[in-house]
């Protein structure tokens, strides 16, 4: 798609479709100076500094991207309002973690996510560390293929990107890489069990 999305629906569609469309859409959201300034202003007036605000904006976009791709974003809501809410939620949790701000009655729940606790933050970090540990053992090529698959690239796009002959070859490569990742998770001593425990 060569047309640059100009409204929120188009941005959402572009993120869902993955590939370069998603990249462009995220860049457009990232470049929204008005919203970014609003987030930075919120963080600065709630115990943080401008760098914290910049980080929160970026972390908010990461959550937004995933929620859109996973269908958690309700399209009747405003994309900007949603992103701003995510950033506020993230900052309140971060501020609690760093004990930079006095707690207020302001809600810190978001999309049904439970309120922040030190335990939940610890489990989240530990889970990501374990998952990263497994990924680090995979060859780069497989990681790229799996990322494209997760980002909804078509098999023909994966084939083109990876220099494979056709869709069938791409599908086979994706299958092989995914099996290899799952075997690594299974083979790693206790990792599946730890992931299971941390999930509870």
């Amino acid at each position: 798609m060569n047309v640059i999305p100009t409204n929120e629906k188009a941005l959402i569609k572009a993120i869902k479709s993955g590939g370069s469309d998603r990249q462009r859409a995220i860049r457009m959201i990232y470049d929204d100076k008005e919203l970014r300034s609003k987030v930075i202003h919120y963080v600065r007036t709630h115990g943080g500094n401008a760098a914290d605000g910049q980080d929160m904006y970026q972390e908010g976009i990461i959550v937004l991207d995933r929620n859109i791709r996973e269908g958690k974003f309700r399209e009747e809501t405003s994309l900007k309002g949603y992103l701003y809410s995510i950033c506020r939620f993230l900052w309140m949790n971060q501020a609690r973690k760093q004990a930079k701000t006095t707690l207020t009655s302001e809600s810190t729940t978001f999309d049904g996510k439970s309120e922040f606790t030190p335990e939940s933050a610890y489990f989240e970090t530990e889970r990501k560390k374990l998952l990263q540990l497994v990924l680090n053992r995979m060859e780069d090529r497989c990681r790229r293929i799996l990322k494209m698959w997760q980002l909804s690239y078509s098999m023909s796009e994966i084939a083109t990107e990876m220099g494979l002959a056709n869709d069938t070859q791409a599908r086979k490569a994706k299958y092989r890489c995914h099996q290899s990742l799952m075997k690594l998770i299974q083979a790693h001593p206790g990792i599946a069990q730890q992931l299971e425990n941390l999930r509870k």
Binding site: Y30, D52, E59, K129, L131, L135, K147, Q179, A192
Partner: protein, 258 residues
Amino acid sequence: MNPEKYYDRIEHYLSGNMSEEERTQFDQDSRQNPELQQALDLFQFSQEAIEVEIENDLRSQMKEWQAEDSTSKASPLKVVSLRRRILSIAAAACVLLLLGTVALNHSNNHYTNEALALALYSSPDLSTNRSGSPTATEAYNAAATAFRNGDFSLAISQLSNISDPSNDALYLLGHSYLRNREASKAADLFRQLSQSPDSRINEKGEWHLVLALLELGQDSSERDELLAKIQADPGHSFHAQATQLQDSLNSIWRKFTR
């Protein structure tokens, strides 16, 4: 457990393309068949792992955009032209008052020490790690994850436990202090790195020492001398940023900052 046995069915289930009837049947089967449930969990863990990588990629991409923004624009100043014909002194006063407010806001948004440090700051490349021993590498990786997650205190604690830290570990520790609002400690570390014989390290040390001193709010001779030194060396990795910072520090807008 053999995850291959259920692969296609699980993929179909998670893709959301199953009919309502098929989904109900799958949910029922997974409750009754522990092997299927385990295969489903494993599939989902693997997807989470891929998501971690996607998150990291996107985070790095946005840091790159941020760095590009900071090098491509100092903070473009738009010249505001006043109309030639000002009808009355009152109108002129209003315009001047408005301009004054704009100037004050503009200055405070772009020219305070904090705003300048932010505009020119970029997170470190966390994929570079020459930490040495397996224990040190493990601590570095844990710190890098904590840094990515914005938990700078944890990153500091992990890195401080390394008995013989590499330059990469010290560099990340400096960044962690800087982000944790402990600019004085960050400055000490970057000062130490600026003395390294390795130019890749000492240049990073010098530039980030400038930023840490800026963050400290000190108009110090150390900062000015270092900035002048970087500016005078066109081959310095942070030459462009230093020039940009010096221009901003010399700007008239600095006089309006609070």
